[in-house]
Structures are given as structure tokens and as C-alpha cells.
């Protein structure tokens, strides 16, 4: 069985079988990560370029580790150290990289649609590592993997995405992926951070965090993206924390069995209190480990496709 597309641009419209295959394949790689030698020769001879036009720590390291553990040759590109600084266009940069005979491109860009554009100018397999406010499919896949690891299934689970939905590509990919896998998805946050018409995606909107905690099995808590102008949508981060911050008192009062996810980096004391961020409800570091396994699965499935 193989994926139905040779690129991973987002989770919108991706069939359930594909998501299932990626998550199942990730289980194999999770085992590889526990071995003394965490490396397999599967993608030997493949060259992968990590094209990062936007800052990233964990996604880039996670992809790079996944590639190295599959024995692929990797090249990293970041705008701060490249000719993009000299004014070279994106298309020219990619054409040049393409001429160096690469097999796969992992791309992160501040503009939505760049990965799709890449599929038109490159023959390589394209993986979206986050494009603007559009999608971040591997993050959603690792979230789904982590949830499935805890509950055994995604079907019928109540998952609430909390925080700055309007600025979040993680939220978008999570909504598409979780809905496809049969979860009940809701969003919770200040009205200014809930995009107009989000109900059309089959998502419920909840305005009260205590209710969200009470009615859900999982909270996927997003970062307040102050660098993306999120600050103008709330009076202050302190007020945000008072109304929507997850604290252990809130969790203990409303739902002691809830699972907390966070894609990182955490603004401690804003989305999560430090106690919750380090406490027993969260699986934030499991998510990071699972991220490598899920990315290995995606690279494997795309890289070995004929």
C-alpha cells in the first residue's frame, strides 16, 4: 500500500487511508528510535533539501534527524545565510537547487501556497513544513499519532483546539486531519482569535475554557503568536491567561483525565501555567519524540514511492 499523492502539502482532502498508513508506519519508526543504533539504510542515496524561509527549531531539527536516521543526504538552506538575502527570487533559488539533483524538498515559508507552487517548478517530492497561516501537516500528524498512542483510536474522541486559531496553521491541519479520522473537533479561544465561519469546517466553537475542559478528552493548546500580531487581538497576555490559560486548578476542578498537547514553543504562564507545562496531564515531550517518527514515516512513504 502506498500514499495516494507524491507530495504532502496539507491534510485537506487527504484520504483516511493515507493518514492511517502514515500513523501505522510511524509506529515502526518509533521502535527504531528506541534502538541502540537509531539508523536504518532505507533512504540511502536520496538527497533531501530543507528549505527554511522562516525560523524554526524543532521542526527543522526533527526533519533533519528523521532524514539522517533514514540515511538520506541532507542539505539545509535558511534565508539568513543564502543568496535570498542578495535578492534572488524564490523560483530561481529552487531552480538552482533542483539543478543539483535533489529528490525531496521540505519547505517552510511565511506565505501560504509555496509548497504547492514548488510542485509546479520542481520534480522532487515536496513536504510542507508550514506555509503561512495555511497548513502544517506533519505537526498535525504527530499530534494525531500522540493522541492515538494514548487512547488507541481517534474515532469518536472529543478534541478541542485552544487559543489563537486565526493565526494557526497547526489548527487548520489538525481540524482537517482529526475530522477525517472521525474525531469530534471543537475550538476555544477569544472571539477575536476564532476565524469567521469556522463552523463550516464542521467544528464547534466554545467560548468558555472550563466548559472546553469539561467536555473534551484532549486539549491541543496553541501558542499565542505574538510575532504574528496576535497581541492586537487580546487586551493583554495576562488577561488571556486569566480567561483561557490552562492551570492545574482548572484541570482538577473540571476533568482529571484530560490530555494536554502543545506544539511548542510554550509561552509559560500564558497558554499553560508552568505547573501544567511540566505536569502529568501533558505529553509535550512525547510529541517531540513522536514528531521524528512521524516525519520518518512521511519521508519513507514518499521517498520509496516509484
Amino acid at each position: 500500500m502506498s500514499l495516494s499523492s507524491r507530495h504532502l502539502l496539507g491534510l485537506y482532502g487527504v484520504p483516511k487511508e493515507d493518514i492511517q498508513l502514515i500513523l501505522d508506519t510511524a509506529t515502526t519508526f518509533r521502535e527504531v528510535l528506541e534502538r541502540p543504533i537509531k539508523k536504518v539504510p532505507t533512504l540511502q542515496g536520496k538527497t533531501i533539501v530543507n528549505l527554511f524561509y522562516e525560523n524554526s527549531t524543532r521542526t527543522r531539527i526533527s526533519f533533519e534527524l528523521a532524514q539522517k536516521r533514514l540515511s538520506a543526504d541532507t542539505v539545509n538552506f535558511s534565508t539568513s545565510t543564502s543568496s535570498a538575502k542578495k535578492g534572488e527570487s524564490f523560483k530561481d533559488t529552487v531552480r538552482n537547487i533542483e539543478a543539483m539533483k535533489v529528490d525531496m524538498i521540505v519547505v517552510r515559508h511565511q506565505s501560504a501556497g509555496v509548497p504547492y507552487f514548488l510542485t509546479r517548478i520542481s520534480k522532487a517530492n515536496i513536504i510542507n513544513a508550514g506555509d503561512g497561516l495555511h497548513e502544517h501537516p506533519t505537526q498535525a500528524l504527530l499530534d494525531m499519532y500522540s493522541i492515538r498512542e494514548k487512547f488507541g483510536t481517534l474515532k469518536g474522541l472529543n478534541v478541542c483546539i485552544v487559543g489563537d486559531i486565526a493565526h494557526s496553521r497547526v489548527a487548520m491541519s489538525n481540524i482537517f486531519g482529526l475530522k477525517t479520522m472521525g474525531a469530534n473537533v471543537s475550538v476555544c479561544g477569544p472571539s477575536t482569535m476564532i476565524p469567521f465561519g469556522i463552523e463550516d469546517l464542521g467544528v464547534k466553537v466554545c467560548k468558555n475554557i472550563d466548559e472546553a475542559i469539561k467536555n473534551n478528552d484532549v486539549l491541543n493548546v496553541l501558542r499565542i503568536q505574538l510575532e504574528r500580531d496576535a497581541g492586537s487581538r487580546i487586551p493583554s497576555v495576562r488577561e488571556y491567561h486569566n480567561f483561557f490559560g490552562i492551570t492545574s486548578e482548572r484541570l482538577e476542578k473540571n476533568n482529571k483525565n484530560i490530555l494536554i498537547l502543545h506544539p511548542g514553543p510554550i509561552n509559560r504562564g500564558v497558554e499553560l501555567s508552568s505547573e501544567v507545562a511540566d505536569g502529568p496531564y501533558q505529553i509535550i515531550l512525547d510529541q517531540v519524540t513522536n514528531g521524528v517518527a512521524v516525519r520518518m514515516a512521511v519521508l519513507y512513504l514518499l521517498g520509496t514511492m516509484n
Binding site: M1, S2, T28, E31, R35, P36, V40, P41, T42
Partner: protein, 183 residues
């Protein structure tokens, strides 16, 4: 399945597995230092049966694990179908152990080669010994089995189908006419 001949029946398979268990114990002067690793899919069940037999004979149950070699294969680019990977499950230490690697059919030797790579990534065993239910010839690698259930010389247009109760509902080995797809 275009059957040419049924080579081994249920009783024959049981006897073959008993003999293999005896040979493994004899060669290793007992079973205390051995670990059994079955290769997915059918090798897993053969290994489990050998493990039970060793326990019967030697009153000791050697550790038993399952190996998936998909990630170590050398034919990704030439295969038409993408191979499905499954989990390797080896929870014990293989350092300084005598690893008995168990598979159903030995053919080109490429799967055994991949398995050797996979095992070396898990540790440094004392020895690795290969045990197969059927050796059908046509090797493409300098690999020879230490324990062979049946030597069945085949033509390149034939295939060996091992059927096991655990997955196929019957215990038998067939010689069949096959399309030219190398496993």
C-alpha cells in the same frame, strides 16, 4: 495459486520443526545462550514453534523476537509495489548471544543479508546462525543456511509456498508455478 506438488504435509512439517530444534540445541551445546529471531511474516511463527519445541526438549525457553527487514532491503527502487513496514519486536539484549535467525524460505539470500544488517544494528551477538524451513536455491549472495528443514531444488519459474495454521489455516509446503516476481 497454481500448485505443482504438495511437498510437505502437516505431519511432515511437525517432524521437520522437531528436527530443526534438535539440531539447533546440538550445534549450540544446549539452548542457554541462544535467542530466536523470526523474520516476518512466516518466520515469526516458525520461530515460535521452534521455541516451544526447544522448551519441550531442553526444559528452557529461549528469548524470542520478531524482525522486520523492510527498512534494510536493497530493492526499493526496482520494486513496483511499495513494501509495507511493520514493527520489529526484540525486547532482549542480543549482545554476546547466539542468534538463531529463522525464516520460511531461503532464495536469493537478499532478505537474509538485510536481516544481518538489521541485527548488527541491535547489538553485537556472539554468532548469527540462519535456520530456514526450505532452501530453494538460486542464491545471489554468498549466504548459506546453518539449519535447513528441506532442500527443494526449484526452477526459476517455480515458487515455494509455506502455509502455516496461524495465518493460512493449514500446515503444508507447496511447489507452485509462479509469475516472475522475485521475493
Amino acid at each position: 495459486m497454481d500448485i505443482k506438488a504438495k511437498i510437505v504435509d502437516e505431519e511432515g512439517l511437525r517432524r521437520t520443526i522437531t528436527r530443526l530444534a534438535h539440531e539447533i540445541i546440538e550445534k549450540n551445546k544446549g539452548s542457554k545462550n541462544i535467542v530466536l529471531i523470526g523474520m516476518r511474516t512466516r518466520g515469526e511463527f516458525i520461530a515460535e514453534r521452534i521455541k516451544n519445541k526447544i522448551k519441550e526438549i531442553d526444559n528452557y525457553e529461549p528469548p524470542f523476537g520478531v524482525l522486520d527487514v523492510t527498512l534494510y532491503r536493497d530493492d526499493f527502487r526496482t520494486r513496483l509495489k511499495q513494501p509495507e513496514v511493520s514493527v520489529t519486536n526484540i525486547t532482549f539484549d542480543i549482545n554476546e548471544k547466539d542468534v538463531i535467525l529463522i525464516d520460511d524460505v531461503l532464495y536469493t539470500g537478499r532478505t537474509a543479508r538485510a536481516a544481518l544488517d538489521a541485527i548488527m544494528d541491535l547489538g553485537r551477538p556472539n554468532t548469527i546462525q540462519l535456520c530456514v524451513l526450505v532452501d530453494r536455491g538460486h542464491r545471489e549472495m554468498p549466504i548459506k543456511a546453518d539449519f535447513v528443514g528441506k532442500n527443494i531444488p526449484t526452477s526459476i519459474n517455480e515458487e515455494i509456498k509455506v502455509k502455516l495454521k496461524e495465518i493460512d489455516g493449514e500446515d503444508s509446503i507447496y511447489l507452485v508455478n509462479a509469475p516472475n516476481n522475485k521475493e
